[in-house]
Symmetry: C2
Subunit: 311 residues, 2 copies
């Protein structure tokens, strides 16, 4: 089922306790697209880069299932650039450089061939830009999933709330859920945020897993306990890409299927953090992905005592 993804396609420069990179391909839409491509192709990309963005990186996205008709290349301008440094425990990061460049006045153009969009993933961007995409689609998609971050809560809360009201699923982390709702308890936070519009809420807790809320139902997917996290960059976007890719591939937006999509997204994110940047997402096999999903299932599997007694 046709999937459209909007978000940043950008340069990142990363520093973790394990090393540092020069400018490498990054951005929310990059991770989302790569991750979703393991479930569904093409992933119809809406994004903008400058003329400094290498053709080889665009080819890389295309080779991994991206339709780049909606990727604007701005002549004479530079791509969005973010540089960050992680703390030793990888639990916090410091932004060293943010250069908006082409993102400063991004006007998302939707190619006609994208108008069949049934699944729309709004990667982290200014909420007014995310909203433009919804407005420019002639028919409302079957499912709109939105990712955002605390920055927009700080600088554009009203715009953010207006966009949140229009989406089906909101994906944020635990601290963002607390900030957006003003509630420390995630159960209370979820109720308040779902009252803002989204019928479904995903709260990402990083190494502590993810919660999926829908009305009065709740599902919890653990994160895999990993021996080593190499680079957390893009994990949340990879999760979101896996989540919507799975839903688009199965074309089933029931709560039961969303649970499976959360587990799939968690599995994809667990690969992402194993190497720098997008590296680990470039050459996964379906066998590796299925084995990882099985690890997630095994991690929480309990045989009820009654089943043992009856066996």
């Amino acid at each position: 089922m046709s999937l459209v993804v909007i978000g940043s396609v950008a340069f990142d420069a990363l520093e973790t306790p394990f090393g540092k990179t020069d400018k490498i391909i990054g951005g929310a839409a990059t991770y989302i697209s790569l991750s979703a491509s393991y479930s569904v192709k093409p992933v119809k990309l809406v994004a903008v880069v400058g003329d400094d963005f290498p053709q080889s990186d665009i080819l890389l996205l295309e080779e991994h299932g991206a339709d780049t008709e909606g990727l604007q290349i701005k002549q004479g301008e530079k791509s969005f650039f973010w540089s960050g440094k992680y703390s030793n425990d990888l639990n916090s990061r410091e932004t060293l450089v943010t250069e908006l460049n082409v993102l400063a006045d991004f006007d998302p153009i939707i190619p006609d061939s994208y108008q069949d969009c049934k699944y729309l993933m709004l990667g982290n961007l200014a909420p007014q830009v995310q909203r433009l995409v919804i407005q420019r689609l002639v028919n409302r998609p079957k499912l709109i999933v939105m990712d955002t971050m605390n920055f927009w809560m700080d600088v554009a809360l009203d715009e953010l709330k207006t966009t949140i009201e229009m989406v089906d699923v909101l994906s944020i982390n635990d601290e963002e859920a607390r900030q957006l709702s003003g509630q420390h308890s995630l159960v209370k936070a979820a109720k308040i945020i779902m009252a803002m519009g989204p019928k479904t809420l995903i709260i990402k807790k990083g190494e502590h897993g993810a919660l999926l809320f829908c009305k009065n139902k709740v599902f919890f997917a653990p994160a895999l306990p990993l021996e080593e996290v190499f680079d957390p960059t893009g994990a949340g976007d990879t999760f979101a890409g896996g989540f919507i890719g799975y839903l688009a591939a199965t074309d089933d937006i029931s709560f039961e299927n969303m649970k499976r999509a959360v587990v799939h997204g968690s599995a994809m994110a667990s690969f992402c953090v194993e190497k720098f940047g997008t590296e680990r997402l470039l050459n996964l096999t379906q066998e590796e992905i299925e084995a990882r999903e099985q690890q997630f299932a095994d991690l929480v599997a309990v045989v009820p005592a009654t089943a043992v007694q009856n066996a």
Copy 2:
């Protein structure tokens, strides 16, 4: 199967964002005993109090399944007293008062009637006192579970390691696991700690659930997302009591059964935090406990897509 529990029986004075208490009954062995009593009776208590400890509180423990033959009452001395104040988000607490009193020179005496001990729970205490109990049991119990805290890592690390070497299961929280192992990754920490002696390790992550490690196997039990946590005091001890109570009742120390014991312990802990102190542990029904365990199972339950396709 006979269960012996050693730990503090004490007074606590608690302050949370929801209110404060005067001196109420507390202590590791109190919570462990109350929690375990829902699985197995009697719970044979080894502890010490002063003559200020009300007879009514001793009766309360007895009415909830405790055998108090091993509870020493020191005439002319005062009971252990701890007072603490929780932060607004309940994630940290400040110790206001610690009066060791009778615990300062606690010499644990094991009544003859406790010598049939098959399951031994060493609640948090000085590690040399915990070790004395092991040494004073004529036959080694089938299973020894030990709880401890960062305090002993700070002031008595060698003593602690000597005791840890002698137990089967160690139960600590995530920060303590990191401190004890010197590793941030909990997977790496678990390997190092299991190499210290215990074949099985439980890492409690509070609101983020608990991990059970045994050799190269790992199990994760989530915590229930709660709308309101009223008072976290005793949650870890209640978990430990539920864990060993379940194992003692089923007399099965396989990894599969330990998983069920972790879920049972998590369920018991989720009750504990709903009210001040021990209050919620005093009048639970088996129906309530089973319903809560079912909530834990439902929280992580995923029907595989293949099962749906085949249905």
